[in-house]
């Protein structure tokens, strides 16, 4: 028969061989997988915050941007519309700029885009621009074919193209004046 040592008295006692309920074991976790899992959760949260938390990522259509001009003030925002034929290359405050007219639902806005326009930038192909309203004279306005000419223009510095879903070659139709027309 085995014996145990009593820690307090130091005397040997009988070994307790009564069956004991086994302690539930915590399942072993693999640290790398837990780190990947936590990173994935953190990334999802980051992406959601980035997507939902930034109102500037919403695109105003030209007619909405014109209607909200007073509220927008000098705030930067995004605007989507269809460039009209007649692009004018000029200089604005010492920077190269392309001046054109943007249109949605027959509402026009003049634009001065600073910097290089997108590779596929063409009249009839909708673009999303980022910038703000400016009240003043726009150089090159007289050369535009269909200017808004209301004393305001959009000064933008970021351009992305919103291409259509038409792959029928020459049968594909161009946007005449934005998504609503």
């Amino acid at each position: 028969m085995g014996e145990t040592i009593d820690e307090e008295s130091g005397e040997a006692g009988p070994l307790d061989l009564t069956p004991q309920a086994s302690r539930p074991q915590r399942p072993a976790r693999k640290p790398l997988s837990v780190i990947v899992l936590l990173a994935a959760v953190a990334a999802v949260v980051f992406v959601l915050l980035r997507t939902l938390g930034d109102a500037s990522l919403f695109f105003y259509e030209v007619d909405e941007a014109v209607a909200a001009r007073a509220d927008l003030g000098t705030e930067r925002f995004r605007v989507v519309g269809t460039p009209q034929p007649g692009l004018v290359e000029t200089q604005l405050d010492g920077h190269a700029a392309v001046v054109f007219t943007l249109c949605v639902a027959d509402v026009l806005a003049d634009v001065a885009h600073l910097g290089d326009p997108a590779e596929l930038f063409q009249p009839g192909v909708p673009v999303v621009l980022q910038g703000s309203w400016v009240n003043g004279a726009l150089p090159g306005l007289d050369s535009l074919l269909v200017p808004a000419g209301d004393g305001w223009y959009l000064r933008t510095d970021h351009m992305v193209v919103k291409h259509d879903n038409d792959y029928r070659g020459d049968q594909a139709e161009l946007e005449s004046c934005g998504a609503n027309s």
Binding site: A40, D54, A118, V160, V161, K162, H163, D164, D166, Y167
Partner: protein, 266 residues
């Protein structure tokens, strides 16, 4: 391996592999050689415009996106069956389809980004609803795959993973409808096929893309399923072996004890 197999291949899967390779070669030929680039003449300015050669990515990107949906929907359906019936077959199918789907989803993000650079003028747009919801799907299933390796108890692991899959798959309708519901928060075009704005060789090549990537999906699923099944068989075999070894140990101890006792009596 537990049942004596040393490969996940079979005559059927090898034939499928050969057909898939021939299909891929044909798809690349049609996509990058035989179809025309997207070049149109502007009715007002007379200048050429369109997506030019970048349009060829449609034959890879769109089929991969559809197969991503198919893989994750398979994962969710198998997970639901697993939760109801508790069969290992469903769990292995869910795991395999999640893994294949995550690979496809990653490729969708990469090809979309490569396509976006020349056409949209950007590699990536933070805040674009279609892009973000697709990225979230990729991250959710990356998390799912990581989760499958965290718990030591395979039953618990499978139950948790099934629950995650059923939640993660809810992102798919959001991705699919995002271009309609949040038209002003995405650069992504609306559905071409739904509006039938594609025809002739372009349409044929896109359909060929669906078929070929469907074969790639089936081939990958077949092998990944067999790997998963063999892993489970191996695990069961290891447990059986461990029990047998322990029993043999106990028998040896009993015999030893019996010899000891009988020896002590002498």
């Amino acid at each position: 391996m537990a049942d004596g197999r040393t490969s996940t291949g079979s005559s059927g899967s090898r034939l499928l592999g050969v057909i898939t390779l021939v299909g891929l070669a044909s798809l690349l030929l049609f996509a990058f050689v035989l179809t025309e680039p997207d070049v149109r003449l502007h009715p007002t300015t007379g200048e050429k415009f369109g997506q030019f050669d970048a349009v060829r990515l449609i034959y890879l990107h769109v089929p991969m996106a559809v197969l991503t949906y198919a893989a994750f929907l398979t994962c969710a359906a198998s997970s639901a069956f697993y939760l109801v019936r508790r069969g290992a077959w469903w769990d292995v199918t869910a795991h395999a389809s999640a893994e294949v789907g995550t690979v496809f989803c990653g490729l969708v993000l990469v090809t979309g980004s490569i396509w976006g650079r020349p056409v949209w003028n950007t590699w990536w747009e933070w805040g674009d609803v279609r892009l973000m919801t697709t990225l979230v799907l990729f991250l959710l299933f990356t998390g799912y795959l990581a989760l499958r390796r965290t718990a030591a108890d395979p039953q618990r692991q499978a139950r948790r993973a099934a629950a995650v899959a059923l939640i993660a798959v809810l992102d798919i309708p959001l991705i699919n409808r995002s271009v309609e519901w949040w038209e002003n928060r995405t650069l992504h075009q609306q559905s071409t096929l739904a509006e039938l704005k594609i025809e002739d060789l372009t349409l044929f090549t896109l359909m060929l893309g669906f078929l070929v990537f469907g074969l790639v999906f089936a081939w990958l699923m077949l092998h990944r399923f067999r790997v998963g099944w063999l892993e489970q068989a191996q695990a069961r075999h290891d447990v059986t072996l461990a029990i047998a070894e322990r029993q043999a140990e106990m028998e040896t101890l009993d015999v030893g004890a019996a010899i000891g006792e009988s020896g002590g009596e002498k």
